[in-house]
Amino acid sequence: MDRMPRWADLVLIPVISLLLAAVISGLVILAIGHNPLEALGIMVSGSVGSTYGWGYTLYYATNFMFTGLAVAVANHARLFNIGGEGQAVIGGLGVALVALYIPWPHWSLALLGSIAASALFGAAWAAIPAILQAKRGSHIVITTIMFNFIAAALLNYLLVGPLKPTGTMETATAPFPEATHIPSFRDMFSFGETILFRGTPANLAFFLAVLLCLLVWLLIWKTRLGYEIRAFGFSEGAARYAGIGSTKIIVVTMLISGALAGMMAVNNTLGEAERLILNAVEGAGFIGIAVALMGRSHPLGVFLASILFGILYQGGGELQFALGIPREMIVVIQALVIMFTGALDNMVRMPLERLFARRRPAPAPVAPPGPTLHPPGRPAAPTNPGTAATE
């Protein structure tokens, strides 16, 4: 039985969790001798107060959208893909190879090539744990974690060896050719004399991420494959009974998941760095887990949670710059948000459910049949009508 309206589940709980995280963060900031309200003001204005701030916020958010979607898709098949980090690293390798070694005539073709290569590389990196899970029962959580390390080590090797241009000390590939540079927000949104998003990394890949949110939503709730993925995720026994093969679902879902994580490289490698550097992913693969958790594995939720984490990332950076609050404290604030929105979900949920149960009649444990099961005047999903019945 749904214990409370969907809007409460999707909106109210995250908002309350965020407020709690904000209060605790405020206390932390107070404890190290700064004014929490001033800090909040700096975070907000630094992240969303200017096109400069937005240019960074949306850049980070784009990264999190890719990895968040990757985790979300796998979640629907009850597969916990912790390997987004490694898949994004290997996706970067794919981008670097096609950008460096194929002479692209125009950035649009380079973009398409990079999308394909990053998706393919990311998917391939996810495929091995997927096949091990499907055929051998090796737990996907363990194998994907291990593949993060392997990916990092592999990239390390390549960037100090084969891919490093001779004569440099830096662990990075050569810069990608001019023809592979995709438009940044500055290129797209500046008119004549007005320069917007000056010096910021946000780029075309943001729109790719938004498009992928939409495609993932279609995939999960509108296609037969999505139906099979969800069926498998909810009940393996019922899936087998329905003739939905577990091997196929595990492998296909992980390929999609890996491809999504891999495509993050279009943003950070092709769009921003314009060469492949070490540590380019910067933990975005793990933030993606928090994003998917907070977004309830729904693309719209992932989108919103990504923006929020983008704000936290960028606002946190500004805080460090303006008040000299150490970087570690900013990580603490981010961790508080993750903890309250993800891990401590039930702390908010359970009192709230009780509140709703008292206000609005919950049905008896043995549900009496009849129209009472569906109280009138409560639309199933005010936030997202398309998924009302399916989630």
Binding site: R224, G237, A364, P369
Partner: protein, 527 residues
């Protein structure tokens, strides 16, 4: 036993001839509403000490709510609880235990990887140190085992013992906590007939020692067999309390449902045609190397119902799963003369395409996805059929319309295709599964435990649908652990024991006694 027929509402209290005795439990005017749903309406009941009191009613009648109030899970909106004549407040289950009430839930609440002893002690430890508690529990268990035929190996791990034993552990837990009043919620739902018999022996022993037992069930047979007094609930109200000896199954059924119910299936003689399903020498070995099917051969013809009788766990499940395409086997199976692949290359989808419909034994873990809406469940297994698809997309409008149509024809309540499957009662869930499988137009319908956990009204409906499908000339393979169901529905009966078919009988030429012997693996004495 005192006088015979009495007015229904005043008849309890005399079963031991002690009309002046104080009731062990008395509920006075208990009401409980969940918003607009009145789960319990002004319920009064007196349960006399040393009796077995049955509470019967359909799913959703309010039995579980009433017992949850008694056990402190819910608080009554109004009304009074008296234990041994004293008004008692029961704010939580701790208070219920202190008041001497023990509850055995339908779904056991045991720690799977703990031993029996540890489970019994859990939550009732004497001190911070475990050893003395365990020692005391061990000797106490030995005493209880002797007194009540409640033998369980105290050192066995829960997940390694059968459900019958697990249930005994639940009873032991209650007795260890000094319960004088034992509430059992649908205790036989998970038990095989011999296990149920053993349970009833235990309950009789408990009654002889003066314990009071409340038995919640929707099975009329159990009420008739073991209770002294029975209360009937319908739609939140207590419609009658009668002495069991003074009533009949038909009368109870009518009181439960509120109308006359056909307990017997009304069907014309079968007109079997050509064989639809032919099974030869089917063998299955499970992952542990145990042979589950040991050369099963049978045939089902068009227009007949072949019932497979047997105690659960004798290979019936495996037979259904092999035919349904979710388990590998060796041997030969032909459907309308065409061989089916048993090696695992064909899955359940291929079986459906070949014309096999399958109502699985467990609708909660196989037949339905409880978190899916009704319309998504109606498509389960058929989601790639042309009528439901639009290229790679699902044709959701068509699926929902089709679901609404099926819900109407199969009387699924509430007829709302958007409602999640978990929000339907057991009977309505089963109707969704049956509607899906029958309406797919199968040549052969496999149907396992069609009425497990289903209320009487829905049983009648589902049985009618099965007979109607037979009369359309379809072949039906029925597996049920309810011998009554097998006897009343089948045209032919095969009995399974230990992975083999022990014998086949025509339904009109056998009886429960003969089948019972075959179910126990005894062929001598059976005709």
């Amino acid at each position: 036993m005192t006088s015979a027929v009495q007015s229904q509402t005043q008849s309890q209290g005399q079963s031991q001839g002690q009309s002046q005795a104080t009731p062990a439990i008395e509920l006075r005017g208990i009401s409980k509403a969940f918003g607009p749903v009145q789960a319990n309406k002004d319920i009064s009941i007196r349960v006399m000490p040393g009796t077995i009191h049955g509470i019967i009613g359909e799913n959703g009648a309010g039995k579980s709510t009433l017992m949850s109030i008694l056990y402190g899970f819910y608080h009554a909106d109004s009304g009074e609880i008296l234990i041994d004549g004293r008004p008692t407040r029961i704010p939580d289950s701790q208070a219920a235990i202190r008041a001497g009430i023990g509850m055995v839930f339908q779904h056991f609440k045991l720690v799977e990887n703990f031993t029996v002893l540890e489970n019994v002690v859990l939550g009732a430890e004497d001190s911070g140190l475990l050893r003395p508690s365990l020692a005391r529990a061990r000797s106490e268990l030995r005493r209880l085992a002797q007194d009540y035929e409640l033998e369980v190996d105290p050192d066995a791990v829960i997940e390694e013992i059968g459900v019958g034993f697990q249930q005994r552990v639940e009873i032991l837990k209650a007795l260890y906590r000094k319960a004088d009043i034992l509430i059992l919620d649908e205790p036989t739902g998970v038990l095989t007939p011999p296990e149920a018999d053993h349970l009833f022996r235990i309950l009789r022993n408990l009654r002889e020692q003066g314990k009071t037992i409340i038995l919640i069930t929707h099975k009329l047979r159990e009420i008739m067999e073991i209770t002294d007094t029975v209360s009937v609930m319908r739609r939140g109200e207590m419609t009658a309390t009668v002495r069991t000896a003074d009533t009949s199954p038909a009368q109870l059924a009518e009181l439960m449902v509120g109308r006359k119910v056909l307990l017997q299936v009304d069907k014309a003689p079968a007109h079997p045609g050509a064989p639809v399903l032919e099974v030869e020498n089917l063998r299955v070995t499970d992952a542990k190397g145990v042979e589950r099917l040991k050369g099963v051969s049978l045939a089902v013809r068009a227009g007949e119902i072949l019932g497979i009788a047997g105690v659960a766990g004798n290979g019936q499940s495996e037979l259904l799963q092999v035919l349904g395409g979710t388990m590998r086997a060796t041997g030969a199976v032909r459907l309308n003369g065409r061989p089916l692949d048993l090696s695992g290359r064909e899955d359940a989808r291929d079986r459906r395409a070949a014309g096999i419909g399958h109502v699985p034994e467990d609708r909660q873990t196989q037949g339905l996805i409880l978190d899916f809406a009704a319309w998504e469940n109606v498509a389960l297994g058929y989601h790639d059929r042309e009528a439901y698809t639009n290229g790679p997309m699902m044709d959701q409008a068509a699926m929902k319309a089709d679901t609404a149509d099926k819900m109407q024809r199969f009387d699924v309540r509430p007829p709302n295709p958007l409602l999640a499957a978990k929000n339907f009662s057991g009977g309505n869930q089963q109707k969704i599964v049956v509607a899906r499988e029958i309406e797919s137009g199968p040549a052969l319908l496999l149907i396992g435990q069609p009425t497990r956990g289903v209320d009487i009204g829905a049983i009648e409906f589902i049985h009618k649908q099965i007979v109607a499908l037979r009369d359309q000339g379809k072949a039906i393979l029925l597996v049920s652990v309810e011998l009554d169901e097998i006897l009343s529905l089948s045209d032919r009966i095969a009995v399974m024991f230990d992975g083999r078919i022990m014998g086949e009988r025509l339904a009109g030429q056998t009886d429960a006694g003969e089948l019972g012997l075959l179910m126990a693996g005894i062929t001598e004495g059976a005709r």
